[in-house]
Point group: C2
Chain length 210, copies 2
Amino acid sequence: MPLGLRERKKLRTRETIARVALDLFDRQGFRATTIAEIAEAADVAPRTVSAYFPAKEDLVFADQDEICDALAARLDQRRPGETAIDALRNWIVENLPAWEAREPELRTRRRVIESDDGLRNYGRRFHLRAQEIVATAIARDLGGSPDDLEVRMAAAATAAVLDVLGELRDRFHEESAATGDVSSRRDEAIALVDRALVFVGAGVRALRER
Amino acid sequence: MPLGLRERKKLRTRETIARVALDLFDRQGFRATTIAEIAEAADVAPRTVSAYFPAKEDLVFADQDEICDALAARLDQRRPGETAIDALRNWIVENLPAWEAREPELRTRRRVIESDDGLRNYGRRFHLRAQEIVATAIARDLGGSPDDLEVRMAAAATAAVLDVLGELRDRFHEESAATGDVSSRRDEAIALVDRALVFVGAGVRALRER
DNA sequence: AGCGAAATCGCAGTCTCTGCACGATTTCGT
DNA sequence: ACGAAATCGTGCAGAGACTGCGATTTCGCT
C-alpha cells in the first residue's frame, strides 16, 4: 500500500512542524519558544500543533518512537545464532549511512536537548524504552526473564553504549569535520559495541559459573 | 546549629504538604488532583505549594534529592580500600532499618508513581543522578573518567540493582507480610549487590585484559 | 459533481507555574 | 529589650500548555 495522498500530506505536515520547531528551539531556546510561534512559522493553527504533538517535548523527539520500533523489530527478527548484541551491532552498522545523512539535524537536536534540563530528562524515556527492548532480546538469549537482575544489568550496560554512540558522533564531527572519514567512524562504532559484548559476556558468565 | 524556629516550621510545612499530596494522589490519581486541592488539604495557599515544589511532580519525589546527596557523600567519603560497590552495599545495609520504618509511605509512593506515565518518567532523573554518582565513584576505583565506556557500563549495571531493590521490597511485603522477616530481607539485598559486584568486576576485568 | 470521511481549525476553559509586592513573623546586632 | 533586616507566607495578575467540542474545510472516491 503506497500511502494515499492524504497520508502523505499528513506526514509532510507533521514533518514540517517538527522541522520548524527544532529550528526555533535552536535559535530562541526551548522554553522561550511558544506553540503559537511554531504554528505561525509552520503556517498551521496552534491547535493543529497540539493535535500532532500532545506535548511540546514531543516536537523534539518526533521520530524516536519509530527508531525504537525499528530496533525492536530488528532484534526480534534476528536470525537464529545471531545474539542480541550481535543484532544490535548489525542494526547500528546498517543504519549508520542513514544517520550520516541526517547529521546536521541530529546535531541540532542534540544541542537543543542539552540546553534544557526538562528536555534532557524527557528523552530518557526513549533510552529506557531501548533498554527494555535490549533486555527482552537478551533474555531470549539467556533463557531468562527480562526482569532478572543479570538480564537487566546486561541490558543497562549495553544501552549505555547507545548514549556513548551519540556523543561519539559529535566528537568525530568536531575533530575531523574536514576529513569526513566515514569508515573509521564506522569502525569505532563497531569497536564500541564489541566492548559491550565483552563486558556483558564476561559479567553473565561470571554470574553463571558460581 | 540546632535549626531555628523558622527552619523547623519550614520543614514541617514542607513535610505536611508532601504527605497530604501523596495521600490525595493515591486516592484520586495524580492528574486528577489539583494544586488547589492540595493547598486546601494542607491548609496553605496554593501559591505556597508552588513555592515549595516548583513542579507538581516534585511533590512525589520530595526526598529523592537528599537521598542522592546522602549516597554521594557516602561514596565520596568511603574509607581507602573500600571499593565503590562495597560502599554502595554498605550504604544500603546501613539504611535498610530507616527504609523499613517508612515502608507504608514508600509503598504508597511507588503505587502512585506506577499509576502515572509522566510521573514514572520524571522519576528517572533520580535514577540517572544515582547512576552518575556511582559512575564517579567507580571511576575513582578504576582510575578513569566517568565518561569512559567501561565506567558507564559498570555504573549502569550497578544502578540497575537499585531498581530491583525497590521492587524487592514490594514483593517481600506481599509474600511475607505476616512474618516480617527483616534479616532475610537484608540478606537478599546484600546478595543482590554482591551479584552486581561479580558482574561488574568480571566485565571490567575482561575489558582490561585484552 | 457530490457524498462521506478525515484533517484542520477556533473557541472556551482548566490547570500549572512565575514574577511581583505587601504584610507578618523571626532573627540578629546592639 | 528593641529596632533593623532578612525571610516567609500569601494574593494577584498573567503567560503558556493542553483539552474537548463543534464547525469548517479539504480530500478521496464513486
